[in-house]
Subunit: 318 residues, 6 copies
């Protein structure tokens, strides 16, 4: 079997199938055109160049399609790059399933969807359950593939569901430790906190986000989510305080004004929602970073981790 | 005629009618009870103490009512204070009109309301005019007395209308200078930008705010205003982009995340809206501050002006 | 039975036993001496004044002793205050147990100590277990009563143990969700993270901290803890990487340089340690704050919560 | 007629006349020399490369001269670039007027100069009018071409005059709305606020700034302007308070210490001056940015606009 | 001999002569008038109250005069306070020299003045020496008593001279270590850096500052000093670069924009000037603070030292 | 004699010997391999490229070895670059001494070491002298070549010793001016403040740091130094207060939390230590920067100097 992206090293000659995440015709500094690809498989992503091409080559390949590539791995400005030697589109007889080449959450979307539904069913308060259930079901189609971000944590097929589900697991635990917390608000807040990412970003069915929507840029998913709750709350005729509390949870879950929250949490459930969110993002990024370094080694500075390096301990990794 | 609050000096013996803005029974550091008042007339506000009182005295006087007071002015911790010597409630035969004792905008509410209406009528785009007109008329009753803030700039009877009207005048001017600006969006944004202050704060009909509402604390007038636009937009079946643009103007008009705007202005009309708002607040506070200092003198540090002192020039004030 | 401090309201006449947390002879603004007390019972703390006293009265009462008091509750500058009418020291025949008047953790110290020990026994790595176990046992005497802070969260008898134990419970949960985390480091870090608070603060056996130690002021508990690990690590001949990792966890657990951490977490266990610490502090403060407000009400601004107000929901509190 | 720079698109073959703003001989990453130009016409600016040149080619072309160019437009690192195929200097028979190729203010310098003069004549206070008039006339020669900045807003021929004039128009409007403002100080402050940019930057007669002067780097135009007022005030024997007030307006007009104002405005005229300055810069940048994007589109992040994207509404641009 | 202020303790009965730094008639919270004094001797300053006085008492005593007082020391809100029992003005026969009661620099003004002059004579460059010498001599009368600040470091009779002289001593040392520094600029910058404090503050001949001047508030001593250099430079016909360099040193010597320096040092002599200034202020404040605490003790938080506590070591103070 | 690096100019043809500081095989943007060198002599450092090489060439040259090079100087992205035409390793018969090609402190390590030792001998307090002497001697071997930083100030052979020695000279001066300072603590703090840089960074014997150590990354030299003092203090049985004071000096010497000091100086000796450290770093960087610019010229923005430009005066440099 051919090497996976996560295992590529400088000097490797590689051959295999990849998904085209993006493709662009560019001009080099010495005035030649070339094709610039971003390719993925389930394990990672790599930049690739096809030199000595013609303008027509651009039309042969498409985003969201699979290609077969032969090439070699080199390093360019501190990052791995794939220099393409041979390239062709996948044929029917290659007999491939596209899902195998898409960066995906570790659980199947259908299963995650059902698990989250059972958390929702477990909400006792009718109003909260109605609002949450309505919005969760209304967005079912998109939830099956939407990532939780464009390029940061959980930016993968099914990433949004996976993020919600992991946070619900954490929420369940905190409810055991801090028993004065309200389960219904906390579960509700977790499920809804990022639901409007579906309206903020345009994702294709592979979970790849090409851009933000206009409304997403002008308002952001927090405000978009609050507007959705407002409408659904009217539909299900929910209590006003409950509606405002759910909206407050969305509004405050980024915690810092400069990260988009004009109000900080004023109820403990909102406080916990914030920390569940942060911790899940951090653990995701840290796990991914550590997978790519050797014991006793440090990662590069990771922008999403406050520009920190991570260290991989030797004692428990040998 | 008796002296007005704005003219009080240390050592004055005064006698006159005032409005009770607040009243509270307190205990002094040497364990005696006294009544602590905040009194206003059209020109200003002063703290007043009634010493040697009984618990029953508290019930005699009420917030929002007029009283007649005799007393003397002293200074306590850098501020003027009125020591009450004689006090009684106003009688019918005093023949007073309460409005004369309320801190009020310099124009009549009815007239300001009509002037703003004519700006709204001047909006060409049907959707914008419909949304703005709907919300402006729906809140007519409250607009007749609501202040623009609890204790900062324009915290007076009719203050919100006055703030909107002055900003509209400025907007009109900028439209002449920067002709690429969209009049409809700018007028619309000005009228709506603080409209949900009516929902954020509880004001009595004298324009005195006792407290913030729960929803006001949990969401704030920016978010509350966005929700109102969302609903009205549906009612008048407005274009979606227009709805989002108006919501974006509300969202961004405080400009800085730490002052409540998670997004900065992305259209020039929102940028101008912000500056009109800031300038009107600053001019209001500066005018008021300068009225209380002598030529060649400095004010104290004013908290709402970034803790600055103001200077009153001599050359043009003699 | 007499009212507890947590239930006092303005105007109450109260009678009961209290612990003297502090006592000081002061002079009032009208030049009279009085005794200024801070009194506690298991439920809270209140300031109390004895007026019309003599200099000799000061010597009659002592910090850490119980007194019987009769008095009335008033409000002074927004806080409740107890005006003492009658006061005497407790007599043997009052038959009181001092522990009943001390603000204490909800579990007995002996039991918490044992529970934490069993977490420590569960550490697989010998070096980590040896270091942690050594330091935990060496400080047993102080751990039985030390609070986790001078006046913030968990500032009560047994507070440090309670803080550690609650965090261990949370750590256990996160290990289930984020399975790549190292249990031994995480448990070790939790137990040791604040252990040097014992050296940073001087606490009496009631868990009341009078002051910081000189070394505590000059270095702080993070550095003090690192020095202790250094010495114990030599004693138990621990692996150097493990020693440094535990020291790194202490060093980074306040996360922000301005809160005392010159390095941010570089291993995921240190990241989680930080969040467990913050969440436990926040939940403690929020729970305490909410207990003192009515449904639909807001608290005052709480300094330890970034100066936020908290809201107590009505829907789940009626 | 040939295409203007503002209309260039990737793939265009273009031919036309341009002004050489800068020219430099460089070495490419594959070790070949080439000529690197910045070219302008009245509508914009573009980078251009002449490949396969010799060292002698550099001497053929000069900054501030017109050339004729044939070439094609490509994209390099997100920006348009002109690849030069043919190039020659302009000949007399081309019959061109250099002003047509210079980025210029929309009004003629002479006219703007006269308009500003009539504002100055309108200043009633003799001292203010004398100081302002003196400095404005003394700098007449440079004012005819100086830009208001090296590369930010109003960096074009006549930009400084245009900036002053637009601000005077705004000042006039605010004087109608906020009638307590002093017209003389405000007009004076507007005219003088950036006058020392002439001493801070070296501009050629096309309004192109090559560099800052040494004094400009070491002191900055605010301090330089204050020094000029000091000297002129002595010459015209002005009142000291008036001199200091004008100096204070210069000193405070950047408002924030980190932008060069060690004092914030302490008179309302200085406050308004600041906002007029900011608004004019913002409107200039926004107008320019919006001209280059399509309806429903967003611009890139603009550094001078706090790194914001701008949105061009569809509803009023179709 | 009677106790000095620095040695006062709670409970002391004291009797002695003091200088009246300020005097004000106030009203207490229980509505009685009293006289509020700030008194000094050479060793320190203390607040004092005369209760049970009449309005006439205020006229008996004057700022800047000596009084004889009998009273007792008590503590009020954490600070010592003198309760006056007997008070009278000083009589001729008391035979006192006012200088003995004024907080003063440790060296005589005349001597410091001469020492600084000899540093100035040591400046080789004629232009620098002329400018510095001119300004230093022109301000001789005020330099004999001016403090370096209103209430911070060196706020005492002769404080400005003392500050300059100590910094010159430090400058001399750095010139030996960092031999590439220019002696003339450095000496010149030190002498002039605060010279305009004389114009920024109003001080009486005891070195007590009552207030800032209007120009001081509106421009500040940095800008005022730059203006003075500008004028003197013209008078002595100095080289322009030298003038600008001296002005740059003044402009940048507070280093941070938020402390008044819009430009940071761009020459090493300006960098050293800044550090000499900061170090001298810090050493002054630290020395004073340490004199008032016991070995092994901590001071209170000192506002002028970034709100730090200081520690007085035991090992070298016993 | 051949030109030194500090004197290289664009267009120079150069020939000479250099030390290989680093070497790396890279691929150019047009897909060719080349060798990328950093070369030094005693005067500076330059990047150099060998184009048209083979993979085998990389093995011929080694870091820390001398080479002979012929080539030409060009400019690439604002920096000088050496294009290598001929290259060979140094032969025995070239008769070179490697030290002549290493960036080195201006004094010999042996001499600096002895000078510092005599400062240490001058410490009167036995405990301080013992601790300092122990750590200084223990690290003698590394001190002979260690730099004070990886790439900032004093990053050269013997740089750490030079930094310590210069600071001791400054300390000596301040002790004369501020006589209340404790000489022993100050000398001790200066010698030890950066001693653990030896453990934080890996340097070869040429004073070139390849990387930070793991412990250096995870704890930093401040904490590492504190741990060393802790151990040595036990060995020499030092007084506890003295040990803590030395540790406090290390802990606080970066002053700002965000630069690694969780505590600010609480003793004046720590305050002075900080300023000596900063001043020495600044003077080093400024001297070096000024050597490379012409009179009347400005440097580029220097990152280590808060991104400032420096100005080289004309008047004293001609």
């Amino acid at each position: 079997m051919s090497k996976k992206i996560v295992d590529f090293k400088v000097g490797d000659s590689i051959q295999g199938f990849f998904l085209v995440k993006s493709i662009k015709l560019k001009t080099s500094s010495n005035n030649k055109i070339f094709l610039d690809f971003n390719l993925t498989d389930r394990t990672g992503e790599i930049n690739a160049k096809l030199w000595d091409c013609t303008k027509e080559d651009e039309k042969k390949y498409s985003e969201g399609k699979l290609i077969k590539v032969k090439g070699s791995i080199l390093e360019w400005q501190g990052k791995l790059q794939l220099r393409i030697i041979k390239i062709r589109n996948v044929k029917e007889e290659d007999n491939l399933i596209i899902d195998d080449y898409v960066l995906s959450a570790p659980e199947k979307s259908e299963i995650m969807y059902e698990k989250i539904l059972s958390y929702i069913d477990n909400i006792d308060n009718d109003d909260i359950r109605n609002i949450v259930s309505y919005l969760f079901k209304e967005n079912k189609k998109e939830l099956m593939f939407y990532p939780a971000a464009k390029s940061n944590h959980h930016s993968m097929h099914g990433g949004l569901l996976y993020h919600i589900l992991t946070m619900l697991r954490g929420a369940e635990k905190f409810l055991e430790i801090y028993t004065f917390l309200d389960k219904d608000l906390l579960f509700g807040g977790v499920v809804l906190h990022d639901i409007a990412k579906i309206n903020e970003m345009d994702s294709n069915e592979l979970g790849i986000v090409s851009s933000y929507t206009s409304e997403g840029e002008l308002l952001g998913h927090i405000i978009q989510g609050i507007k959705q709750i407002e409408k659904v709350s009217e539909k299900v005729d929910a209590n006003k305080e409950i509606t405002v509390l759910l909206q407050h949870m969305l509004l405050s879950h980024h915690y810092e004004p400069e990260f988009g929250s004009p109000k900080r949490p004023m109820i403990p459930e909102a406080e916990i929602l914030h920390y569940l969110d942060v911790i899940d993002a951090r653990m995701f990024d840290m796990k991914k970073t550590l997978e790519n370094i050797e014991p006793s080694g440090f990662s590069d500075k990771i922008w999403t981790l406050h520009n920190r390096k991570l260290y991989k301990a030797k004692y428990n990794n040998l």
